[in-house]
């Protein structure tokens, strides 16, 4: 799980194109959207693409994204759960 969380943090940094932050700067349990990283709806779409392209998980209902992408931890949980199935 820790490896997956670290991998996700690196991928999020890549999506955000932020060379100035490190995985350690991202709290795995903190909300991803809101003030912190300045994420917006386009980033949510990027996360949907990330899950499909990298992890082979397709989110059919975008409304579920709010829960799935709440934090790095919730993303990791979702990936782990759906890759098992």
């Amino acid at each position: 799980m820790e490896d997956l969380i670290l991998k996700l943090k690196k991928e999020i940094i890549g999506i955000l194109n932020r060379e100035d932050i490190t995985p350690e700067d991202i709290d795995a349990e903190a909300p991803l959207f809101g003030d912190g990283l300045g994420l917006d709806s386009i980033d949510a779409l990027e996360f949907i693409v990330l899950l499909e392209e990298t992890y082979g998980i397709k989110i059919e209902d975008p409304k579920k994204g709010r829960k799935i992408f709440y934090s790095v931890k919730t993303m990791a949980d979702y990936i782990q759960e759906h890759q098992k199935n």
């Binding site: 194109n17 932020r18 060379e19 990283l37 386009i42 980033d43 990027e46 693409v49």
Partner: protein, 217 residues
């Protein structure tokens, strides 16, 4: 109605040049690293900057540094300020990146963060959002900087009272090449004092061409 250029800026050849004076020289050769170094040097805190494509970054930084230290945003309501930009390369760099992500039907993963920058108007939009500028907002594509066209278009906006202040210029970025030239145009009767250019520069095509080329007036 007399129009004046009250401040101008250029970002090119690793330099930030304000009113003809070199303010900052970066060691960075690549476009993205140069833009990153200007951002870091300028004490700007705007996390969305990092998500922009290079064209929008260049436009964003040019306006940011052009307006820094001025009272333009206090003096004019957002509805009275226009942004009239032009360039040769449109958003071609982002267009090509997007095409690379969609050309293989078996590996078809368009990236939303790239797709949103496949219009040069997005650059103008980023600037407008940042500074709450709500006036005329346009990007024209031409092979070269066209001072005559820009002069006539911007003058028309002033004469029709569509704007009382305008930020026009040239923002071009493609591959290794980048160049920006932006200025503030204001009506003579609305200028209380020329902060940086004591006598102001009359807004006309000849002066625009000279400033663009870095020649003195």
């Amino acid at each position: 109605m007399e129009l004046f250029i009250t401040r101008y800026i250029q970002l090119k050849n690793r330099r930030v040049i304000l009113n003809g004076i070199v303010e900052y020289v970066s060691e960075e050769q690549s476009v993205s690293k140069f833009l990153g170094s200007v951002y870091g040097h300028s004490n700007i805190d705007y996390s969305k900057f990092f998500k922009m494509d290079n064209l929008s970054k260049l436009g964003f930084l040019s306006v940011e540094l052009l307006l820094q230290g001025t009272d333009i945003l206090q003096k004019y309501p957002g509805e009275e300020i226009g942004i009239i930009l032009s360039n040769a390369s449109s958003s071609l760099e982002s267009d090509e990146k997007h095409q690379n992500f969609i050309r293989d039907r078996n590996n078809y993963f368009p990236r939303p963060s790239i797709f949103v920058y496949t219009l040069p108007n997005i650059m103008a939009g980023e600037i407008a959002i940042r500074h709450r500028i709500k006036g005329e907002n346009t990007v024209f594509i031409s092979e070269q900087f066209d001072p005559g066209f820009l002069y006539h278009y911007v003058s028309e906006l002033f004469w029709n009272r569509r704007v009382h202040c305008c930020i026009p210029g040239w923002i071009d970025c493609y591959g290794d090449g980048y160049e920006s030239f932006l200025f503030i145009a204001e009506r003579g009767d609305r200028i209380k004092r020329f902060q940086d250019l004591p006598e102001g520069i009359p807004f006309d095509p000849l002066n625009l061409e000279k400033l663009f080329k870095g020649e003195s007036i």
